[in-house]
Symmetry: C2
Subunit: 318 residues, 2 copies
């Protein structure tokens, strides 16, 4: 399946050139650039923004600026996230906090955030500013909620849904909404595409959680069972624990937050207790929601791009 068609690939390149020219005026940042913007990211968020703003009469430069802003906001989140999770590696490269220090991670994240805000203000669109400032706040709220959940042995499905919406769905939603706001004043289109994107984002996160319990680490290109070792209960473990007996539940609780050397037993248990099946059911629900919103979009081109993204989020193995 082809995630990004050639036209959007070209546009994303222009977005990346813009990012480079906006960010690289600082000597220190230049050195960090490749760590921050490595090319292994999927860039779904700027892509959403390009798709949702396509076909309008607006000059394309504004679209690229908006897409760059979205990618900057996302990047700032990742840089801070890596500090919070003490992650040594992201997308195969060492993180800022591990190559340099936590302090570099904190301050560089702030630098990137504020750079995004400077670019946002230049767009001179209060509705876009409003949506992006709220989205940024919601993302940090999601991170704080997740931080509160860490170490808790009992989390609710509602908690998990809140985290997947705030941490992932929210910026997908904002990217699509702001693209729509840039293009035209069409409330119906704005709501359809942003709701579609929001549900794709949540589905994307559920798929991510499922992949972390994959028994083929090589195929997904990153280590598995990260979440349980970071003391995080995500969907597969949540569902497995919900149907586990006392002994199995205790087994999982004991593994939360500890280093795991042998994966097989945990993976087998989560699978057997329905953790994967139930997560896939939930994934299905969000994908169906996203498809039903996509189908309400009038433009054939945009509709098909969104359906393609929904399909990708459903099937992706990386």
């Amino acid at each position: 399946m082809k995630l990004i068609n050639t036209a959007y690939k070209k546009e994303l390149n222009q977005v990346n050139n813009l990012l480079k020219s906006e960010i690289i005026d600082e000597a220190l940042i230049q050195e960090l650039y490749s760590y921050i913007f490595n090319k292994n990211g999927k860039q779904l968020r700027p892509l959403l923004c390009l798709i949702s703003s396509s076909g309008g009469s607006k000059k394309s430069s504004k679209r690229f600026e908006l897409a760059a802003i979205i990618e900057l906001l996302h990047t700032a989140t990742l840089v801070h996230d890596d500090v919070v999770d003490e992650s040594p590696i992201r997308r195969g490269l060492k993180t800022i906090n591990s190559s340099w220090t936590n302090s570099h991670g904190v301050l560089l994240g702030d630098f990137i955030y504020s750079k995004a805000f400077i670019m946002m203000v230049k767009l001179k669109n209060i509705k876009i500013l409003n949506e992006l400032s709220k989205a940024t706040n919601d993302i940090s709220k999601g991170e704080l909620i997740q931080l509160e959940l860490i170490g808790k042995k009992n989390v609710s499905l509602d908690d998990l849904k809140k985290v997947s919406y705030y941490k992932t769905g929210r910026l997908f939603e904002a990217a699509a909404r702001c693209g729509a706001l840039l293009k035209e004043n069409d409330k119906k289109y704005e709501n359809n595409i942003s709701n579609c994107a929001k549900n794709i984002g949540i589905a994307f996160q559920i798929r991510d959680d499922i992949l972390d319990y994959s028994n083929n680490a090589k195929a997904i290109g990153k280590p598995v069972l990260q979440d349980i070792q970071e003391n995080k209960i995500t969907y597969p473990l949540y569902f497995a624990m919900a149907s586990a007996d006392l002994k199995d539940r205790q087994y999982f609780k004991n593994r939360l937050g500890s280093k795991i050397s042998k994966n097989n037993k945990i993976l087998e248990k989560v699978e057997r207790l329905g953790g994967i099946t139930e997560s896939n059911k939930l994934l299905d629900i969000y994908i169906k929601k996203s498809i039903s919103y996509a189908n309400k979009i009038d433009s054939k081109n945009i509709r098909e791009e969104m359906l393609n993204l929904a399909k990708f989020s459903y099937e992706r193995t990386k």
Copy 2:
């Protein structure tokens, strides 16, 4: 000397009430509130904003909102700063990072930043948004420059000036400029008061650096010699090292970044080598600049408030 007159004290109270109501809707934040907004802060930045916007025809609610935004931005900086410096205590209270974790500090800082941006957007004033987004970026630039300087045994006076402007002067400047922008469209007033505030801010920072080499820790209400122990060369040490012989310079270099149990010898050396005198001379220069800008302000009330602040920054012992 009275820093804040009664009218402004009342207004600052309204700003603080607004902060409380804006921030406290989150349960987690509620718990952290007193750690974030403890009342021992001088609140010079929101005060500057109230002074500079005073006497206009604008509804006062906007002035309070702007002042609250400035205080939020400052607070977010402090929360992240404490993570970077690994500070256990600020203004006599335990910091977020020491009471909770570094992760709480990082995420709470982000939450406060983005809350400030939401409030900013509500003001619907592109000039103010422009100034505040740039100021926020400059502050993070200042922090990054300072981080790069840490551990360096040779820093230039230019480096130090850059850090004091970006880290401290910049938000003083922005607070005054935005207050002026809110009040009226008077470029001359805007430039005079923001330049005055900028120089007061830099002076404030120099005074802070001098107080860190005070031989009366009790009188200033906080421990001394923090900077040298955090491996930071500030003005007093810079000037002392500049006129030190090889042996004394080596003595200072050996103390940078290490725990200091006996203060007297260092304080005496810095003093004897002119570190305090030279820093005071520099302080004098910035205060004079700020006074000359203050004197160009037409409104007698505002002029006198600014002169009062300049005086305070020059003389303060806490």
